[in-house]
């Protein structure tokens, strides 16, 4: 019986066939089952629905982003372990390594997508949601419902990418999936479609968040906080979100064209019939390059806050910091071609993009000097976030140097697409982005959960991450210069083996570091009474989030603070904080929870699933439902509720003990 009208191209042959993937395919549903069983046993379903799934509170959404990202970090590191164990084993045994080539290629594609979209971007939105509204003295983001919708799109995309393990496999075309390799001709299976729809759905979620945070920063700052009195983190988020707004539509459009190619056999990016794969490469990097700045600018913002707080000193060169951020934003759109100097464009084109690329090193270098001179004549507390900062400066600087090297087209011709390149971007992304986000988790953790993370364990984690990073990636620089290309699954040069082995040991050291973070969180939860943050200001902070009690209440500020200067909270503390009078409390309006963000996102996920498996009726039904629920949400006027001043006064007294 032909069931293809019902199930599209779904079929049993798409179940995994290799031990590693079978393990994952069995393990993941079991884990899901355990969670469901746990929730049922402890009768937590209502709690989950009311407190989390339907929440529109930015802090809770931030926590959910954080949980997803940490889980995905574990998966991403798992992928990295598979990759490096495979290449080490391939050298030692002189054979083909541990996995089939197809699995290896799926793993590095998934590693890239998961680390960029679901770890780095996820942690970024976690931290922005948690810290930004508090930092600018806002009660919530501008569009709380949209925020919940963005998160659920992100979560649904994450489920899609992981579900591919169970059914159908993932793309094996690399994280940016250049056609023609990812075209119907060479990759007809569902893997590339999983990749496409994962990126598409996560990308739309990101774009919506971008709009949300721009509006939040522009219109929801506390009275008196002019743009030039904003904390630098808020500046970095503003600029990042402008980049999101400009870059992500390119991703959406490019992926849509590719979807048309794959679903309806159109010819945007094919090699024949007028299609042009080079167009795809240009478009994907016109998004992809700003994307890496989207990751790293918030990291710069985070370290600007941390170094100034830990050195107990105002950030050096605030205005140049803002100018440097703006310059980076501008130039990040003028460099995309440096990702394919070797495609054979003329010398003038290559030289132009090369020079634009190295110009970015100038504002970036300036930021590093400003951070160093923030330390100068400070009183530095060597807390865990500060240790991350020191590791960041040392590591990121080296990544910057190799970046400038590759910006020279003539040099890039010799290192492009080799492991040298792989080492370079891990150097900047781990040393820049990951270190920053791990520092920020330690830094803002008490604000959200009301207790600090254990310092000693955090420092040990940082130590293992740093040494693991060096061991894992410095050998890759050398391998690249020796001729080892990226995405290599076997090689017959015994000279390379020790390099791959050391790199594999490095990955294990990073794993130890990540494990240490998990231990740190678990131990801190266990010791939460002794680690409790009673003051709400555990680091002697400078910005407004530290003026609230910890954990920050759901309404953020009982009374919105007035701002007269940069680092308002620091100077308020110097002047002596005035306690609020009974009459300062006014009625406040807060957004009501809504299930529709979750519901629509799930429908979007079903739509994507239908597109992946060519289940047309599912696409049609879910699209109709999406439109119905979107209209319903639009017509709903009952979306806010009021907390009377009396109640707010009581809540605030309670929160402040």
């Amino acid at each position: 019986m032909d069931l293809s009208w019902l199930i599209g191209r779904l079929g049993l042959e798409h179940l995994p066939s290799e031990p590693a993937t079978i393990g994952a395919a069995i393990g993941m549903p079991l884990m899901a089952l355990a969670v469901v069983a746990g929730l049922t046993y402890f009768k937590k379903w209502t709690w989950l629905w009311k407190e989390w799934i339907t929440t529109v509170d930015a802090k809770k959404i931030g926590i959910m982003y954080g949980i997803v990202s940490v889980l995905m970090l574990i998966r991403g590191i798992g992928d990295a372990i598979m990759l490096r164990m495979h290449t080490a084993a391939a050298g030692i045994t002189g054979g083909d390594g541990l996995f089939q080539t197809d699995t290896f290629q799926q793993v590095f594609t998934a590693h890239g997508i998961i680390m960029i979209f679901f770890v780095a971007m996820g942690l970024m939105f976690a931290l922005i949601n948690i810290a930004l509204p508090l930092m600018i003295g806002a009660r919530d983001v501008a569009f709380p419902w949209l925020n919940s919708f963005s998160f659920w799109l992100f979560a649904v995309a994450m489920i899609l990418v992981n579900f591919s393990l169970v059914l159908g496999g993932f793309s094996n075309g690399g994280w940016l999936g250049y056609p023609p390799l990812t075209s119907l001709e060479y990759s007809p299976g569902p893997g590339v479609d999983y990749w496409l729809w994962t990126l598409q759905i996560a990308g739309i979620g990101t774009l919506l968040s971008g709009i949300n945070f721009i509006v939040t920063i522009i219109s929801h700052r506390a009275p008196g906080m002019t743009l030039m009195k904003m904390p630098v983190f808020a500046w970095s988020v503003l600029i990042t979100m402008v980049l999101v707004l400009l870059a992500f539509p390119i991703l959406t459009a490019t992926l849509s064209m590719m979807t048309l190619d794959r679903l309806f056999e159109m010819h945007f990016f094919t090699s024949e019939a007028g299609g042009n794969p080079m167009m795809y490469v240009n478009l994907i990097w016109a998004w992809g390059h700003p994307e890496v700045y989207i990751l790293v600018l918030p990291a710069f913002g985070i370290f600007s806050e941390i170094v100034s707080v830990m050195a107990r000193k105002a950030l050096f060169g605030y205005k140049t910091m803002v100018a440097a951020l703006t310059a980076i934003m501008f130039f990040s759109f003028l460099v995309w071609q440096h990702h394919f100097f070797t495609m054979g464009a003329g010398a003038n084109v290559n030289a132009f993009f090369g020079i634009m690329t190295m110009i970015i090193a100038i504002p970036t270098g300036v930021k590093i000097f400003n951070w160093l001179f923030t330390m100068y004549r400070g009183k530095i507390k060597f807390t865990t976030p500060m240790i991350w900062f020191l590791c960041f400066v040392a590591t990121f600087t080296i990544g910057g140097v190799t970046g400038v090297m590759m910006a020279v087209p003539a040099i890039d011709y010799q290192v492009h697409n080799t492991l040298f390149l792989v080492a370079h971007f891990h150097n900047t992304i781990i040393g820049g982005v990951v270190f920053a986000f791990l520092a920020a988790i330690t830094y803002w953790f008490p604000k959200i959960f009301g207790f600090r993370l254990h310092e000693g364990l955090g420092k040990i984690a940082a130590y293992f991450w740093q040494i693991g990073f060096l061991l894992a990636f410095m050998p890759l620089y050398a391998l690249g210069l020796m001729g080892a290309v990226r995405r290599l699954d076997n090689y017959d040069n015994p000279e390379w083996t020790p390099f791959f082995v050391v790199s594999g040991i490095g990955v294990l050291a990073i794993t130890l570091g990540a494990g240490m973070l998990v231990v740190q969180i678990a131990y801190s939860v266990y010791k939460r009474k002794t680690l409790r943050d009673k003051t709400g200001d555990p680091w002697d902070g400078r910005t407004l989030e530290w003026s609230t009690p910890s954990p920050a209440p759901f309404y953020n500020f009982a009374v919105i603070p007035k701002v007269t200067r940069r680092d308002e909270w620091w100077y308020q503390k110097l002047d002596g904080v005035k306690s609020l009078k009974r009459s300062d409390y006014k009625d406040i309006v807060l957004p009501k929870n809504s299930s529709l963000g979750f519901v629509i996102a799930v429908l979007v996920g079903l739509f994507g699933f239908g597109a992946i498996w060519h289940v047309w009726w599912l696409m049609i039904v879910s699209m109709v439902a999406i439109i119905y629920f979107a209209i319903r949400r639009g017509l709903d006027d009952d979306v806010e509720y009021t907390i009377p001043a009396v109640e707010l006064y009581r809540l605030d007294k309670e929160a402040r003990g």
């Binding site: 024949e272 000193k313 070797t342 003329g346 300036v366 400038v404 020279v408 003539a410 061991l471 020796m482």
Partner: protein, 304 residues
């Protein structure tokens, strides 16, 4: 003593790490750092130059990082503390200025080196360039020598000190052609021909690679490049030209079928227009204005 624990751990770790790196690299001669061709030589010097220029920023950063962190630790009562010191026009001018100077000089170098090392640019030498047409296939390389009337798979014999003018295309997903010992890589794409000019200056066997993933057998696309003296090359090409194995379009289609770990083939070339036919495979649906010229030098119209 307690305050020295962390500095000792950090310095000890740093030395330990350097020792491991030293153990790894000692005795190795990376192709990019020890090239065997003029293009690679220039690229290696450029690489060294950027390292030196960057050092002018990196060394001060590392020194300041260590010194400031140590000197301004909160337990050091002797250090000055100026919590409000946050602007200094002169200092900021210095650290905008120094990177500007470094990047400007590097930009000048970039401009000129992009032109002098442009892969399209023919290399001037005593001997006329050897013409080699390269086709990336799934998962092997086909090399066509139209003037010698020969073709090889997965092996690239070259003549020492004679420039090579490569024309590179793919009949597979986008691939990239790279011989690190000689310099510069270039993408190989369907229906268009990119150019790459190199010159081998040392005899010996080097290795070439595909740097761009083009499917399952991507890692297998490593091939030996044998650089030999002129007379040896002539002898070899004559021998191959007289081979009974001939390459025409039909045989090509056999070879082009996906295969892994393909052995070396040496064939005489019976169809001198084969490379153009391979390019034209992707042109027949219209769209591009394909130059129908038989002249091999005229592919640039298809390039971008």
């Amino acid at each position: 003593m307690k305050k020295l624990v962390w500095p000792i751990i950090i310095i000890g770790t740093a030395f330990g790490f350097l020792a491991i790196m030293w153990w790894l690299v000692a005795g190795t001669k990376p192709d990019v750092i020890y090239p065997s061709g003029q293009v690679g030589d220039h690229q290696q010097s450029l690489l060294m130059l950027t390292v030196l220029l960057s050092a002018a920023v990196v060394i001060p950063v590392f020194l300041m990082l260590g010194i400031f962190a140590w000197r301004y630790r909160d337990t050091n009562k002797k250090a000055k503390y100026k919590p409000e010191w946050q602007e200094n026009v002169l200092l900021e001018a210095i650290w905008w200025g120094i990177p500007v100077i470094i990047i400007t000089s590097l930009a000048i170098v970039t401009w000129f080196s992009s032109h002098s090392l442009d892969p399209h640019k023919a290399i001037v030498a005593d001997k006329p360039p050897l013409k080699v047409q390269v086709v990336a296939l799934q998962w092997k390389w086909l090399f066509i020598y139209p003037e010698e009337g020969i073709a090889t798979v997965n092996s690239l014999p070259l003549e020492v000190d004679r420039p090579v003018s490569f024309e590179v295309a793919a009949d597979a997903p986008m691939s990239a052609f790279w011989i690190p010992s000689l310099g510069s890589q270039i993408y190989a794409m369907n229906g268009m021909s990119t150019k790459l000019n190199l010159i081998p200056n040392k005899t010996g066997i080097f290795y070439g690679y595909n740097t761009n993933i083009n499917g399952e057998g991507y890692s297998d696309m490593k091939f030996p490049v044998e650089v030999m003296p002129g007379d040896a090359f002539k002898k070899l090409s004559k021998k191959i030209a007289s081979s009974s194995m001939t390459l025409d379009y039909n045989h090509y289609e056999e070879i082009a079928k996906p295969s892994r770990d393909e052995p070396v083939h040496q064939m005489s070339l019976s169809d001198k227009g084969l490379y153009d036919k391979i390019l034209m495979k992707y042109m027949d649906h219209g769209g591009h204005e394909a130059p129908a010229s038989e002249d091999n030098s005229n592919h640039e119209g298809m390039e971008h």
